[in-house]
Symmetry: C2
Subunit: 225 residues, 2 copies
């Protein structure tokens, strides 16, 4: 459902160039649970942003459901993303002026979900990540791992078809991290949601059906369990 | 060298109260390498902020080098921290308008280090965390793990006596995380720097001499290897 063809991403820094991604070919199939691993700085977040349409690569083509992302305008891409793609960011990106509940409700407002359904869905999502007792806290009144979990709840609340997770358990203790991974595996199994999970945790990677390894902006391994 | 006596920290939220820390007694000795573990939301970051004088607890006393922190003015505490305490924050807290090198140089400017020494010391610190080739990048031009490593370099550059690390390897792959931990262990051994490391990584905790476990704002275990 997502196809990358010869995708490259580079940044000019004064006289030198940084190649974040080099000629990446990638096919993601519907319903897959895929881990994306690799050293710090190898291009994982960049690849995830390209897959999710947040970054237009400097070269190459990205197809989502067979449509070339180049043919979408900024607005169309934005609307498409809101409907089909959930994102868990490496630095959470929560709105600091809104409470946890309000942050989780945002995708439902964009999707024009009815206001009486919205409250139940947002509360359910917060409950699934164990934060019902923190729903009125703003991000600044939450611990790092709690902010991470609000960001997970926000990504899943509208059950999008594709969820892209940039290190979703990096700030969580082992037990809480396992609970979040179980939640992801269940949504993959029950709702057939496609997941790409960037992770540094080998335990998380080993529980995914497919593991893509990145190094210096290139895919050098792609194995299935 | 750092002593907490019956320290409590609570936050009022509307009609309810959140107890982030409850009557914590803690003695930290010079030269110790201590891990601080516990579930997400258990109070680790709050405890680290109190130890480092960044948060004045709602109750209890904090002594650093036998002086009660209450007796310091805001300014005195600030000067004291700059000279004696290095901090690696859970969300890095880098200055987004400065390059990696400039961020790492800041503590040296505050410590009135001579400008020709500053450049060498900052470059050495970036080299120790493997980021010499990224020194002119601003935080927005760095990966998550690279930002984390700049924040490590900034905390160690002036070799403070005490370094407080809030999950210093959370965004790093296993190999890079090991390198950072080796760096910490070496500075503890060679320079006798006191470290308190909040971590969710059991491998990191097992390599420390002392392990304090927190749960619901209370210390329930304190063991030495
Ligand atoms: N300003 C605040 N107002 C209200 N509650 C707060 C505030 N800051 C922190 N808390 C609460 O205090 C508790 C402890 O927070 P703390 O950040 O110390 O946890 P932590 O152990 O570092 O967690 P993590 O491992 O997730 O980073 C959390 O339950 C959090 O919701
Ligand atoms: N705006 C930018 N300008 C210049 N270089 C950049 C920019 N953004 C990212 N980079 C570089 O691109 C490379 C890949 O970055 P990316 O964030 O994708 O890495 P990552 O694999 O997610 O790393 P981590 O595991 O540390 O999060 C890094 O070496 C980084 O320094
Ligand atoms: Mg990243
Ligand atoms: Mg914390």
């Amino acid at each position: 459902i997502i196809k990358l063809k010869k995708v490259s991403q580079h940044y000019k820094m004064g006289d030198s160039v940084v190649y974040a991604l080099s000629e990446v070919d990638l096919d993601i199939y519907s319903g897959e649970l895929t881990a994306l691993v690799g050293p710090s700085g190898s291009g994982k977040s960049t690849l995830l942003n390209v897959v999710g349409g947040l970054t237009k690569p400097t070269m190459g083509d990205v197809f989502i459901y067979d449509t070339n992302v180049k043919d979408y305008s900024e607005n169309q891409m934005c609307l498409f993303r809101r409907e089909h793609i959930g994102f868990i960011f490496q630095s959470f990106n929560l709105n600091p002026t809104l409470t946890a509940l309000e942050n989780v409700t945002m995708p439902l407002i964009f999707a024009r979900v009815d206001s009486k359904d919205r409250e139940k869905m947002a509360n359910d999502a917060l409950d699934l990540v164990g934060l019902s007792d923190r729903k009125d806290h703003k991000p600044g009144e939450l611990s790092g791992g709690q902010q991470q979990r609000v960001s997970v709840a926000r990504a899943i609340v509208n059950k999008p078809k594709i969820i892209l997770c940039d290190e979703p358990t990096g700030n969580l203790d082992t037990k809480t991290g396992k609970e979040i991974l179980e939640l992801i595996k269940e949504m993959n199994r029950v709702n057939q949601i496609t997941f790409i999970i960037v992770t540094h945790d080998i335990n998380v990677a080993n529980q995914c059906q497919r593991k893509i390894s990145l190094q210096d902006g290139k895919i050098f391994n792609d194995e299935r369990n």
